[in-house]
């Protein structure tokens, strides 16, 4: 039988929302206080949802220790206590939480093979969150 399993992780990072392709006025109009040149930080909460058959012998979709290890090594160590703008992932895209959510999904999709990656959900604050489930075939 198939079940979905979700695990939550916390990390902190800073970013500045700014696009070089826009004028200074456009950047301020688009990003507001997030355009502050010195950046600002968030405590992000990451929820990773994986799915698969419940293994008859272990009773588990996948071993949580394996998921924790991949998320720790591939996501948390990469982004925790970093300035996102300085990382190569954001050389050509703005480190909005939308884009960070997609970047994390793509990293985990490649790195975690023990179960199917269903969804990455990223909370920037208690008041907003973003979800990405990969590209859909219907587009």
């Amino acid at each position: 039988m198939k079940a979905h399993l979700t695990r939550r992780y916390l990390f902190s990072a800073s970013h500045r929302l700014h696009n070089d392709a826009m004028t200074a006025e456009e950047n301020r109009a688009t990003y507001g206080k997030c355009n502050n040149p010195h950046g600002h930080g968030h405590n992000y909460a990451l929820e990773v949802t994986v799915s698969g058959r419940v293994d008859g012998r272990t009773g588990m979709v996948c071993n949580l220790a394996d998921l924790d290890k991949v998320v720790q090594e591939q996501v948390l160590e990469r982004f925790d206590h970093e300035n996102l703008n300085t990382l190569r992932h954001f050389d050509s895209i703005v480190p909005t939480t939308e884009n960070l959510c997609v970047v994390i999904y793509d990293i985990l999709r490649r790195a975690f093979r023990a179960a199917h990656l269903e969804k990455v959900r990223l909370e920037e604050t208690l008041m907003n969150a973003f979800e990405y489930e990969g590209e859909r075939d219907s587009l």
Partner: protein
């Protein structure tokens, strides 16, 4: 179609062990969850049902009835229990959160009169939960 979710909490203990594995395999696969004396969690259960809104009552489901079924079928059986020893499903299945979500579904699904069960979500801790949507 409208979806309605009801929450409940219960506390129980469990441990993970399979007789198919050697003691070393059990320790390696299940880690500290393999401690035979068990350990406990405060579980949060979310039961989501779906249905059309009844024109006369304005309800998808009689909430009181849903609450009664959740209490009778799940909480009375599992709250303050050692799942491995006191809940029959776990005499043969390991009481992982995955299997717990499936067992809750199997207990509730035949007992809901009008609404259709959509999802059972079981939080083992605030950082870990399992969703089960029925047989696929």
């Amino acid at each position: 179609m409208v979806y309605l979710t009801r929450k409940a909490e219960f506390s129980a203990s469990h441990y993970y062990h399979s007789p198919e594995f050697t003691p070393e395999e059990n320790r390696r696969i299940f880690g500290k969850c393999n401690n035979p004396h068990g350990h406990g969690h405060n579980y949060t259960l979310e039961v989501t049902v779906k249905g059309d809104i009844d024109k006369r009552s304005g309800f998808v489901v009689d909430l009181k009835q849903l609450k009664e079924v959740m209490h009778r079928e799940v909480l009375d059986a599992m709250d303050h229990r050692f799942l491995n020893k006191e809940v029959p499903e776990f005499a043969t299945r390991i009481p992982t959160t995955e299997n717990l979500a499936i067992a809750v579904w199997q207990r509730l699904e035949p007992n809901l009169n009008h609404a259709k069960l959509h999802r059972v979500r079981v939080y083992e801790t605030s950082d870990l939960f399992v969703d089960f949507y029925g047989e696929e």
